[in-house]
Symmetry: C3
Subunit: 353 residues, 3 copies
Amino acid sequence: MAVIRKHRGHFLEDFVPGDLYRHKGGKTVTEGLFAIFTDFSMTTNPLSKNARYARAYGFDGLVVPPGLVMLVVFSQSVEDVSENARANLEYIDMRFGVPVYLGDTLEAETRVLGVKGSSSNPMLGVVHVQTTGRNQRGEVVLTFQRKVQVWKRDKDAALHDGEAAPERIETTLGLPPYDRSRRYGELAHLTNADSYLEDFTAGDVIEHSRGRVVTTDHIMLTGILDNTSQVHCNQWMVSQDPERFVGGQLIVFGGIPFNLCLGISSADVGDNSLGDIRYATGRHTAPIFAGDTVFASTEIRGVGEFPGRPDLGVLAATLRGHKFVKKGDAVEKIEIFYLEREIAVKRRSHYTG
Amino acid sequence: MAVIRKHRGHFLEDFVPGDLYRHKGGKTVTEGLFAIFTDFSMTTNPLSKNARYARAYGFDGLVVPPGLVMLVVFSQSVEDVSENARANLEYIDMRFGVPVYLGDTLEAETRVLGVKGSSSNPMLGVVHVQTTGRNQRGEVVLTFQRKVQVWKRDKDAALHDGEAAPERIETTLGLPPYDRSRRYGELAHLTNADSYLEDFTAGDVIEHSRGRVVTTDHIMLTGILDNTSQVHCNQWMVSQDPERFVGGQLIVFGGIPFNLCLGISSADVGDNSLGDIRYATGRHTAPIFAGDTVFASTEIRGVGEFPGRPDLGVLAATLRGHKFVKKGDAVEKIEIFYLEREIAVKRRSHYTG
Amino acid sequence: MAVIRKHRGHFLEDFVPGDLYRHKGGKTVTEGLFAIFTDFSMTTNPLSKNARYARAYGFDGLVVPPGLVMLVVFSQSVEDVSENARANLEYIDMRFGVPVYLGDTLEAETRVLGVKGSSSNPMLGVVHVQTTGRNQRGEVVLTFQRKVQVWKRDKDAALHDGEAAPERIETTLGLPPYDRSRRYGELAHLTNADSYLEDFTAGDVIEHSRGRVVTTDHIMLTGILDNTSQVHCNQWMVSQDPERFVGGQLIVFGGIPFNLCLGISSADVGDNSLGDIRYATGRHTAPIFAGDTVFASTEIRGVGEFPGRPDLGVLAATLRGHKFVKKGDAVEKIEIFYLEREIAVKRRSHYTG
């Protein structure tokens, strides 16, 4: 008889540049998953709320919003890539492909692009990976790179230090063609009147007025995503080792504030969007915990053409999340999230009247 | 560069009697939304639990229960009508129309019927509105009036005091015809045997035996409904101004106890109903908070004919919600909800045996 | 005018050996219920995650996992059998039948097999029942016996002490035939490589490495299942009588840790399973409360043939749940759940390469 304790997930010394992990599980987007996350996140874009609107625009039905596509694909990579991570450092070049609909099954794989040991801590290092999610027809729905700080299993193990070239993954944001006969103007009351492309000016900063507290529901939400990382749900483990685990508190999975910030910003910058194109870079700049209230702001960096689509433009913006913390009598504003986004936004000239 | 802070929602001085707001968003009733709310609310009516039963009765499938229809339509009106409200004062003449099924998309609009400034507080006044929800075919699913106490943005702004006549919105409760060949008796074990029309006597008061605590889940539930009111979810905001916000606590959205009270009462008065017809008046008589346990009672006010449907009758009842609060050694019973309902209830003579 | 307080559920003196209860309600498995429970429970078996995988194996679509089938059928029996129970003592001979799919409607009935008063407490006794769940075509999906400790309503009431023979309920685990042309090997990366039948040795004990804290979400989860037992959700009631109700705390419904333990174990023993066949016996050996972190282990008791299916074997295992409690400086490990399982597990020889 043997007592077996399988540790799931890779440690720093297991990663080899060039290796490919085909992730386990896969996930079908049910109406349950959709409702919980789309609605929880406070998204206001009717493409993800109102099937009549989505169909009138030429989509096949309710569109899974970019934040949920990201969560479903990302979470599949957690066991292989970051179950034994200390921190998620950066999202890089996250690009969206074909639309995801209810009933689609998403599967994901990750290529190791780089491994680098820490010079200051012999138990840590950084892994650089490229993760791609595809639907049941093999079409790319999302691809991104990320850098993660991962623990070693064995301090003395040799590392596969080095780099590999990223795969060239083509993505084209899947958008139905513009078709004047669809009479978009009859649906214009369903979105905000002040969030068309013409409404944005580079340099403006929009302080989104709503905030939302995160409760212990984050634990269930993270579980529903199949995210297996223990720092989000194993209270006993973190209570036993408060020095290692931020004072013995469960950290909220970054995907939760990522989605909340997208949602909080959507009434002001996202509800006349037809899709998020690309996130050039993103990072969680501070952890959040149950009880924190999340706020967000958007800085408009640029307003450009969308090649081949005179009805649309590209809004380049920086989305920031923040929370407030009391320090004695003072209140400190702490940035918790940073994301550079490019969004395909409708022109008022083509979609109203 | 400008820093922009858009305030969503109207203030008292924005409302003009006769104006119509076509609300943003709209909402498709997914199986996720349905499961979370129908089941959460403790409804026992098999029309909303058991598709085999619902189809056998001639419905197209699971029927979205009246409480959820109300929540979906009401929540769409929050941004325009009550995001800047102090209190929801009264529901008036709430009437249900065609059945709502999974996959239906509900959209809503609200007409302003009256505006009246407060004589005692120059920052407050009452707005009277009429909200109507329709499905993707334009059929009315719900219409109701409500009165809301709304804040002014600017103390010195002039008000559009006055009144406008309500629109005449016809509703006919959508019910499949009675058809003896359906052999209803074979399904009779799926509902309570003591909640047919013949079981009710005017004057009786039924103290429903079950109670249910409300947890911080109310925050997620409210978010899933797209209810954007900040007093239900922005903990930081209410903590900063406890005098304005009931001691710094998040108030539970009234739709939660509204639904819970309907659900708690359903085993005793609602599970042999084919539909709620009308709520003549309703109000939240005290706020509830996370940690409160909700109880309910029903007073039977009358038992009448249902014109043209000898198989049914109309049960007129008053549904009350309450909670208990400890004051020192004493326990105080506080009424939290009051609703006058008319329900279409099956006669035992036609549905059993 | 009368004040009526209907008590739902049976008391000890109401049970008569041989009586059959056809339970109220029934329940259609929506995508919402499925997402909440399947994903919450941390199940890793792709049959319940990935519709592409499930269809490739010959199932009609996503398969409702055994733990959720059990919860849906069990919960329907609560009002009649255990709403007035003190404790659920034992599950016996729980057997699974045809697969359950999204959209199926499950209804349940329970036969009373035995009634026995307590020799030490005149207000208590044990009821032995047999519950069977069927789908909308009348096919058995689950049958099991259980023993429950039930309160008497009236201390002096006579009991129907005695026994009745169980019904003979045939179950055949519904499995698609093995078909080499399905190219199972192309899907092998979606499950763990070390959980095929060949990987198990009788006597091994697998300590599953993940744990999960239970939050107050248990209250909503239990409500969503239509479980009406008040000890899980009526905080006021239990606070008023802490001596009767474990110190005034809400007990977590046993179905929650039952499902969590199945889910926590699935990465190591369940994700190459095609179905749970039978639970010979099971019991909740200690209560759990919000804040407890649930862990699990599996003892392999035997590895056998599956008659007529050379591609499969039967894994006999004991699943145990536990939690840790601090007692001063010491930590006590408390067993909370015990289940003897037989699972149909794939052979690596037939499903890879």
